[in-house]
Point group: C2
């Protein structure tokens, strides 16, 4: 089994192997009769075509490389789930390669994918972003970058619309009646920080409101640092009047702010509304559950795979932008007195 080749079938059927090859692929030139005989025999003998042998002549492996920093990151694994769903539909094999943010591994990954002659590559960064793509580009196969910061020439990319996400989140707060809405940012993610701030501004302008400079905080501390939310909120509460709602760079920040609010005796959402970004696991587990902007992870994976497959078919595929979705939970409500 698995050692049966078209030659064996050919012999059993009393035809030549090319005939078997054609019959198996449904070549219309083969008589129905022999085709059926061959098919039956193939099934009977447990024939399974060799992808390697085929790829040698077709120069297509029907295999896609997926490169991520870590599969243990829930964002990444959701994306990979989406990628697999699309690839499986088209019978593409998925070679998973982890770069682990180690230069040594990244090199090995490139070598591995190169030797296996993958037809295309998807690089998926988590919300953290930024990977080695230069080397991969050298492989001369279509390359789709998902949520990646640095753009490389000859590369196609897919990312979530950060401006829109922020805009929708802040619009939600303004719509509830808040008029002093603050923003706590993140200095070590300058690009998305700027975009979210832009969304914050747009939401205000959409309603002919003017964002108030003292309510916009750069924030301090690294991306994954809870304390940024706490120190930010502390600072905001010293203003008079203090904001009634805060849009936070991400959920981690918002949760930090939530803890600080509790510390100061503020009730969320009654005294203060909070919105985060990402929809991390904790967001729905925290009390009150956090209103947040979610990246449609699985869908992003599917779209990335769709893009890649389109490229493989020779179709043009520009870059894609995905719309995030606002998930309204318990941390937002109308301000008091509304």
């Amino acid at each position: 089994m698995a050692r049966v080749s078209i030659k064996d079938i050919a012999q059993a059927a009393g035809v030549s192997h090319p005939t078997v090859s054609r019959a198996l692929r449904g070549d219309p030139r083969i008589s129905l009769e022999t085709a059926e005989r061959v098919l039956a025999l193939a099934h009977e003998l447990g024939y399974s075509p060799s992808a390697a042998a085929r790829s040698l002549v077709t120069r297509r492996t029907h295999t896609i490389g997926v490169v991520v920093t870590s599969i243990a990151d829930p964002f990444v694994s959701d994306v990979v789930d989406g990628i697999e769903a699309t690839l499986a539909e088209q019978d593409y094999a998925l070679i998973l390669a982890l770069s682990r943010s180690e230069p040594e591994r990244e090199l090995a990954v490139v070598r591995l994918l190169s030797e296996h002659r993958v037809d295309g590559i998807i690089v998926a960064a988590s919300r953290v972003g930024a990977l080695h793509d230069q080397d991969l580009a050298r492989l001369q196969v279509p390359l789709v970058l998902l949520n990646n910061q640095a753009e490389t020439a000859g590369t196609h990319s897919l990312e979530v619309d950060d401006v829109l996400g922020a805009r929708v989140a802040v619009a939600h707060l303004l719509q509830l009646g808040h008029r002093r809405v603050a923003y706590i940012g993140c200095p070590d993610r300058p690009r998305s920080h700027a975009r979210r701030l832009e969304g914050y501004r747009q939401a205000h302008l959409d309603r002919r409101l003017h964002p108030q400079p003292e309510l916009i905080l750069e924030g301090r501390g690294a991306e994954g640092d809870r304390s940024r939310g706490a120190t930010g909120l502390t600072e905001l509460l010293s203003l008079s009047p203090p904001p009634t709602a805060v849009f936070c760079y991400n959920d981690i920040t918002a949760i930090g702010a939530l803890e600080a609010a509790r510390h100061y005796g503020l009730r969320v959402p009654k005294d203060l509304s909070l919105v985060g970004v990402d929809d991390v696991r904790e967001a729905s587990l925290v009390t009150p559950a956090l209103t947040t902007v979610r990246q449609p992870r699985r869908e992003m994976g599917q779209r990335a795979a769709d893009m890649l497959l389109a490229l493989l078919r020779g179709e043009a595929a520009g870059d894609a932008v995905i719309a995030p979705v606002l998930v309204i939970r318990e941390s937002t409500a109308a301000p008091i007195g509304q």
Copy 2:
């Protein structure tokens, strides 16, 4: 690039291709001089060997199939992370295939792995367990089953020692001084339920204590059902005296019990100690953070890959049992009056 074959190198070096092939693989019979020349040329031309062509003649693809129900499950993704770590070390490629618990997909997975002639397969079920393995066994390649319920002949398996986990957890409670320790089980996971109950018994017998039948609850409701913890605890509190500690089938159960305890005005761990199993994400996020029995997921993945690689080297590999680890957090303490 990537279209350079050993023939091209051979021509450039003025030797035959077999010589190039040997030089590239470090065959000692090749003169140092030509070997160096070939290597330099290979590098210069950007040569990358074709895994497909090689596999065709060696009958080894250096590729492993990893079959899981869902990569979005954090348990599974941690395991896969471990598998990849070991495989990458040995330059094996990892083909990820998701069965999604759909019969149709399972068939496609078998076909895919068969056509790609994977050298071996790892099937990783999450704590939920149970997959299609019969078909995979037909592929005639080494097969390692991780946390799988149904055993198939000619298969190697790896699972966590459920009895030990329960025993250590309950020993921890007894050691703290608890003398009325209850157990809330799970009827729809009969196998692990029985094992955890056995561990519960052993922990008692280890201290020459006798488990008290009224403290052992079968539990009701499905595995992922929080309410089982709540109803179980309610039942237990009607006893006199009620237990001072509860070992729960899993974290979900324990969290349900935790909520119920709060509802009844019991303080955890002061009035009641709780232990779960799994170390799901929520376990560390809940207040108080849950003491629990963790399955070393990543390590399990590594061990599974090690087993498989050993089998590929022709070494014998029995089944393996992994020891879980007790993670002591805030939900356990000595009983009052201790």
